[in-house]
């Protein structure tokens, strides 16, 4: 099942400059594993050593934070869109 992942600019350098990446997976966890397998440079930005999502990375299925769905176990269907929102502090 192909799922589209939208990457913020800060992560695009580790994904050959792409803004969206299509990967296969039935859950958010599977999709993320597929994503970091394809772009190993993204791993440290998204996942900690135990494979959990960093707490400073917010991932949304459509407009819903996956923390309030089933986290990495959140089920995905063909055509779902995941958005990764980075923590950003800049303002000056």
């Amino acid at each position: 099942m192909a799922v589209e992942i939208k990457l913020p600019t800060v992560l695009r350098a580790q994904a050959d400059g792409q803004a969206t990446v299509a990967v296969d997976g039935a859950t958010v966890g599977e999709v993320f594993n597929a994503l970091v397998a394809r772009y190993p440079g993204l791993r440290g930005n998204l996942l900690d050593d135990s494979g959990s999502l960093h707490k400073f990375v917010n991932v949304y299925k459509d407009d819903d934070d996956i923390r309030y769905l089933d986290g990495l176990d959140t089920k995905l269907a063909d055509g779902d869109v995941l958005s990764i929102l980075p923590a950003v502090a800049g303002g000056a």
Binding site: G90, G91, A92
Partner: protein, 393 residues
Amino acid sequence: MASFRELLKQTKSEIREIQPADAEPRVGEATFLDVRELDEFQQGMIPGAVFIPRGHLESQVENKIPDRDAPVVVYCAGGTRSAFAAKTLQELGYTDVVSMAGGFGRWKNEGRAWITPNTLSPEQRDRYGRHILLPEVGEEGQQKLLGAKVLLLGAGGLGSPAALYLAAAGVGTIGIVDMDVVDASNLQRQILHNLERIGDRKVDSAKKTLTALNPDVDVVTYDVRLGADNILDIIDGYDVIVDGTDNFPTRYLLNDASLLKHIPVVHGSIFRFEGQVTVFDPYNGPCYRCLLPEPPPPELAPSCSEAGVLGVLPGIVGSIQAIEAIKLLLDLGEPLRGRLLAYDALEETFRNFKVRRDPNCPACGENAHIVIAEYDDLCMPHAVLADGTVAAH
């Protein structure tokens, strides 16, 4: 054809009148509607009264008194215009309308309470004319803005457009916290400043720009670094805070302090071509820590000074912050409470994401205990020891 006297007599027979003595106990319970002309109203009014000159009654009353079953006491100067106005209100479907006999004149002569309204000067009426035309703002909303206090954290990329628009809108008090000086590299985006101000304190430069734009605005400057030692004093008394700071520790510190003081924060942040805006309304919605339980390590969160930012980007994001601040001040529309607006300038898209309040949030959750102390790069919540002191990390 009826004469004026006959028409008045006929009208009075179709409405109810009450004496000022019977109207006075209804202050606070009923809506008092003043239908005189502006120059009369400016001389004095019954406290809390809604003002609609009789000539605008039909067109404005539905906006100002939306509930047709609300009790309404109409008054004018002597009780004639209010009698006609009461009849009109009945025809518009208002069910509980009385006209005050003898009007404001008798009210005043009998020694009942009245006040001089805060009204806009002719210059202000001109300056804010486009606001006053908006039924959602109007003269009353403009008065509210003139009485409002907004604190801007940072006179930089986000603070510049936010400050300019809030000052232009007539927000009466604008506080600005910034400890920096104007540098040539700021001018690509920080539109409060200019070439002549290089080397000046940013707060001074900001005050000059804002005062030149709108002398109605009292600009209060804080040329300090916002820290645990001063934040509660600085933010005290402000209605809304616009956060345009540039680092995580200050944003977490602000979150804690704004929760303690119950002051809503309009959050904005920018990076390269992307921006985020949301509203943290203490205990009425999520807080910063609900959105972001932990900050990224510094190596994964480069600042704009390291990673760059398109100069126009803070113009968009800071302007949206100004809109949100005004919406909060005037209780308008749907603020970005519980929603994060993400703007991507390259795609030119705005997207909304849900932000939920975390019941277990260490800052705003049920068992949270807020301690104001400096944060390090990890921004972990401060633990309180048994003796009441704060644990070091």
